[in-house]
């Protein structure tokens, strides 16, 4: 009897203490954490240590970057007989690994026949599907509205690439081949150079330049002044040659957002056109030229089969069905 009673009290004790501990855990632990985490995703303040954006003082003016792409001016640089200069400048300035076009120019069809060129950077969506799915908060919005990636946190699950409806995210599949000067670059999420193996990378509107009051590389590189960098807060945009009132510019030129029906709220607007202001005819048959990576693709690897060291990275890529880059020359 005595024995049984002792057993019962121990049981009761364990039961009760576990119950109280569990209740406390349920009430205390996840709730503040959830709140904190959801805070992170909106403001990006969780990345305090690594994100320079978080160093801004509360009183500081917060930007709301956006881009306007005036398709009436874009001729895909075919009249210059060169690859699209926005892409090429971006590649040269960020040492992007082979095949990655952070801003990519697509050739799309016009309703009545003919085609137009469409430069496509990351849309920096306000309701970004990639930010919503990231399991570790490696991709986040900074205070200026940019969607950035913290490459020291990204685990490489590529969920964001599946979520992005614009194909605007790239993966560093291997150790990228880079020119020696890339090693001098000082990495930050605003300037993700050099690229880190096994992480996702994309356009970040050259946030490092915007902070210094400079225009992004693609805007500066564009010879036809197609690209406008703007600030939604100040309602202003510029392509480096002219300054426009953003809202009026968008309104008067029937600007549209890519796949606006998806509700991603892109921060990139397009003004319909086919390069007419640069003197391009819509039935121009000249094709886009492929941009050049001066440093090749990825480091050599043993090819797609365990035998045969002969496959270098380029042929390895094409046999494995690497579509980026090659397709446009066809």
């Amino acid at each position: 009897m005595n024995n049984k009673k002792k057993d019962l009290t121990r049981r009761e004790f364990i039961k009760k203490s576990l119950g109280w501990a569990g209740l406390a855990g349920v009430l205390y632990l996840p709730v503040p954490q959830l709140l904190k985490l959801s805070d992170n995703t909106i403001t990006g303040s969780g990345q305090t240590s690594k994100n320079p954006a978080a160093e801004s003082q509360p009183g500081e003016k917060v930007r709301d970057w956006c881009m306007v792409i005036d398709l009436r001016k874009c001729d895909g640089c075919v009249s210059f007989d060169s690859p699209p200069q926005c892409t090429q400048t971006c590649i040269n300035a960020h040492f992007t690994p082979g095949g990655q076009q952070w801003i990519e120019v697509y050739e799309a069809e016009l309703p009545g026949g003919g085609s137009y060129f469409m430069p496509s950077p990351c849309n920096q969506c306000e309701n970004a599907p990639c930010v919503n799915v990231c399991p570790v908060g490696a991709t986040y919005h900074d205070e200026d509205g940019l969607v950035l990636i913290d490459h020291s946190r990204c685990i490489g699950c590529r969920m964001c690439m599946a979520a992005c409806p614009y194909h605007r995210r790239f993966f560093n599949w291997g150790t990228p081949k880079l020119p020696p000067e890339a090693a001098l670059a000082e990495y930050s999420p605003l300037y993700p150079v050099p690229a880190v193996k096994g992480t996702v990378i994309k356009c970040m509107f050259c946030g490092h330049l915007l902070r210094d009051g400079k225009l992004p590389f693609c805007v500066r590189g564009c010879p036809t002044k197609t690209l406008y960098m703007g600030d939604l807060n100040e309602d202003i945009a510029t392509n480096g040659r002219e300054v426009v009132v953003l809202s009026r510019f968008l309104r008067e030129n029937n600007a549209y957002q890519l796949k606006a029906e998806l509700g991603t709220q892109p921060r990139t607007w397009y003004i319909p056109g086919h390069g007419q202001e640069s003197g391009r005819k819509s039935d121009d048959k000249r094709k886009l030229m492929k941009p050049v990576w001066g440093w090749g693709g990825y480091d050599d690897h043993p090819g797609i089969w365990p035998w045969g060291e002969s496959n270098n990275s380029a042929s390895g890529n094409s046999t494995a069905g690497h579509p980026t880059g090659e397709a446009h020359s066809k």
Binding site: I155, M161, H167, H301
Partner: protein, 449 residues
């Protein structure tokens, strides 16, 4: 006569259950070595992948998920086997399932280990996997997946272990002679002082019933969140609410049919002919037929609602699937998951067991292909005016080796389990048999059978 047979039954079942634990044959060692060789090759492939990165796979920027992800979905599907057979059938007091429960739970645990493996080899930075816990965002479907997987794995382990306690106790008592001291110590430890007292029995029953009720929603949510990793995106073919229930039914289907295969193999190699009879195969195949038609219904509903409206990107997807480059896979899936198994399971001609095992193999090949059909073509549809329409994905040798390693690990876990665990819950079976005898003597035959 009946009483004598009952005693024999208990002795025989004890013998059969304990026999494999004594003397591993040469063939057994050869098979384990063969599996270890495959696993070793897979490890070599994984080391290559660690060294050169995911560059060694066939995945690229457009098709950024491939063989690993659809193997992961396949294994998660196979894992629902345990929830179905041991939990749902236990809950509905279907007593014929007793000899199958342990096998089903083993399949579940082995499949979940593989699922975890597949998702781990897929990440680009395996060194940062723990970030999922350090920085995990509860808003991400991938974190739901990790939580679901770990919960289900833990639940299945416990659910495998609890009914084993009386068996471990019996082994502790019976194996005193043949077993080594270490083995005996382990069994004693695992038996946690089980003496079969009414109090112990009552507590164990209670724990098992609680787990039985818990494991079903855990298993179903596990597969639901796996579907969510796809259906929370805006991709054609994934962006649909029916994907999650579709995955659950598909998983139950492949789980039940996988059980047909695994129990057939165990029956042959552990000599369980007396306990796992054609009747068991038939009953599982009845479940299989019901699930086949439910799954068919879900697939038709899913595809019909998309195909009727045929939004542009989805039109591309279905061109790809039905008549395009992915068509051979799609129609192979239809043939091996629906047409052939339906014929095999419905027309009961020929020997029951090989016929149903063949159906099980076919369904699982079909369901593996189905996971490919879900994942890859959706990624192959261009979302931007890229000017070209099909990006080929074919897995590289690294991916094939690692996925094959997964199958080898699955087989290895089941093979080793046969040597260290009683493959049927024999204590429970003896008790049920006694109960049946008891009812029979009282003329209460129909109730239990």
């Amino acid at each position: 006569m009946r009483v004598a047979k009952a005693e024999n039954y208990a002795q025989r079942i004890e013998q059969t259950s304990l026999a494999p634990m004594k003397k591993p044959s040469t063939a057994y060692y050869a098979f384990v070595l063969f599996l270890l060789a495959i696993i070793g090759w897979g490890l070599y492939a994984y080391i290559t992948q660690l060294k050169f990165g995911l560059l060694m796979t066939g995945m690229r920027d457009y098709v950024s998920w491939g063989f690993y992800i659809f193997s992961f979905i396949f294994w998660v599907g196979a894992s629902l086997c345990g929830a179905l057979v041991s939990a749902i059938l236990r809950l509905t007091h279907a007593h014929w399932r007793t000899p199958l429960t342990r096998i089903a739970e083993l399949v579940t645990v082995a499949s979940l280990i593989n699922a975890g493996l597949m998702i781990s080899v897929d990440v680009g930075r395996p060194d940062r996997l723990l970030f999922l816990f350090a920085y995990g965002r509860f808003q991400s479907p991938l974190v739901w997946d990790v939580i679901g997987l770990l919960t289900y794995l833990l639940g299945s382990f416990v659910y495998l272990y609890l009914p084993l306690i009386p068996d471990f106790a019996l082994m502790r008592d019976r194996l005193k002679g043949p077993a080594t001291a270490l083995k005996l110590k382990i069994y004693t430890l695992l038996a946690v002082g089980w003496r079969g007292t009414p109090e112990q029995r009552q507590r164990l029953d209670k724990a098992i019933s609680v787990l039985t009720v818990m494991i079903i929603p855990i298993g179903i949510s596990m597969h639901t969140v796996t579907a969510f990793t796809l259906s929370m995106t805006l991709r054609p073919g994934w962006d649909t609410a029916i994907l999650a229930p579709n995955f659950v039914i598909g998983a139950l289907f492949s789980g039940a049919t996988l059980l047909l295969v695994v129990m057939g193999v165990y029956r042959k190699f552990c000599h369980l002919e007396e306990y796992i009879t054609p009747k068991h195969f038939r009953y599982v195949s009845y479940l299989g037929i019901v699930l086949l038609f439910s799954y068919l219904y879900f697939v038709v509903v899913e595809y019909l609602t998309i195909m009727f409206k045929l939004r542009l990107e989805e039109k591309e997807l279905f061109t790809l699937l039905l008549i395009g480059p992915a068509a051979p896979w799609f129609w192979t899936f239809v043939a091996t998951a629906f047409v052939l198994p339906a014929i095999l399971m419905l027309y009961q001609r020929g020997p029951t067991i090989p016929r149903l095992m063949l159906a099980g193999v076919l369904v699982n090949i079909g369901m593996f292909i189905k996971r490919f059909v879900i994942v890859v073509p959706s990624l192959e549809v261009p979302l931007m005016p890229t000017g070209f329409h099909f990006f080929t994905y074919s897995p590289s040798w690294v991916e094939i080796s690692i996925v094959t390693m997964g199958f080898a690990i699955f087989a290895l876990i089941l093979t080793l389990a046969a040597k260290v665990l009683p493959i049927m819950p024999f204590v429970e079976m003896i008790e049920e048999n006694e109960l049946a005898e008891h009812h029979q003597t009282k003329g209460d035959v129909g109730k239990e059978r």
